[in-house]
Symmetry: C2
Subunit: 208 residues, 2 copies
């Protein structure tokens, strides 16, 4: 019988693993891919090298991933999931001001903890529009933030479409930090960027 396959043949896994050892194999592949991404970059990280470094047969790799793109899409997805979890572990913000400070801080801490990896994920690994929308940031965080702004709309300066505002603010924060990761990573260790970004967002969202 043919192996079970998921819908999108390019970016999702092929088989759905059921035993513990196959999950370990997948973890080994993803860990190997991450290490190779850091050491030799996306272009040169071939599926053969990934399998070798993982201590896994090349055949096994193709049991679980339809190709190279899918492997790195999964690396990205897991990192994004980790960020989402970190964000949600924070104490519930009691105001928009707290929300902005808390979530800017947690994202900055997140990228600072492994600058090279996040720079590579932003820069080196191609992003495919389809897979992108499946990231927890878009699927879970942005809707969450939208809901939060709705329940705190009394604090808001703007009275237009709150959904669009939430979307906009989420993207500005993420895009700005990502931009510094890429082009000025040294400035991320100083607190200045954090202050500027918080100031920017607060003045946009709140009355002075």
């Amino acid at each position: 019988m043919a192996a079970q396959r998921k819908l999108n043949p390019l970016y999702s896994m092929r088989k759905t693993p059921s035993q513990a050892r196959s999950k370990a194999t997948i973890d080994a592949i993803l860990s190997s891919a991450t290490r190779l991404l850091l050491s030799i970059g996306y272009d040169k990280a071939s599926t053969n090298k990934i399998a070798d470094l993982a201590g896994v047969g090349i055949g096994s790799l193709y049991e679980y991933f339809p190709g190279k793109e899918a492997i790195f899409a999964e690396v990205r997805r897991r990192e994004d999931q980790r960020l989402f979890n970190l964000t949600m572990e924070r104490p519930d913000p009691r105001s928009i001001k707290e929300l902005v400070r808390s979530h800017v801080a947690v994202y900055l801490e997140f990228v600072r903890s492994n600058l090279v990896l996040h720079a590579a994920l932003i820069n080196d690994v191609p992003q495919f529009a389809v897979g992108q929308q499946e990231l927890p940031f878009y699927r879970e965080y942005v809707p969450w933030a939208t809901e939060f702004l709705h329940t705190h709309k009394a604090e808001l300066r703007l009275d237009g479409n709150i959904t669009q505002v939430a979307n906009f603010v989420s993207h500005v924060a993420r895009a700005t930090i990502d931009n510094y990761v890429l082009h000025a990573p040294d400035q991320l260790t100083a607190p200045l960027i954090e202050d500027l970004l918080i100031d920017l967002l607060e003045r946009f969202l709140l009355e002075p």
Copy 2:
């Protein structure tokens, strides 16, 4: 005698062309590379295909470019130069408010004029830190904006390090628009993003 070579062997051109026909060859290569980027993407746009489509021998391609990366770095550099020229052709802004509105508008118009190309340049083509700093945006525009803010510092709300503020604002604007190009290009055609972005920057820079 050996061909003249520039400093960075990876991202710069090899020979410096002197005759008109060689400039035409280079243009044909860059145009071909751009078309292939749009049609088949960075990964599959090999140097052989680029030369073929350009109607140029593969040998000629390697006379002028040390490799694939350098070709696309030059495509990016020329696009960035074009943006800088468009920006500088605008009437001189007479206030920070005018600056923000004018330059946000010109950049939005620029990316809207060829969304697919700019999405590919942001997303698909790897960016190398070294070459990045050589883009007109960093080398010319940011210093220009810094100078502008200095001469209009009376309007500014902040009195801290103006250079860092100019840097920050330039990056926020560019990063945010690039982010929409990638993840929500449809929203770029509506004027809403422009309004939100201008509002964001003005409230950050100016007194209410």
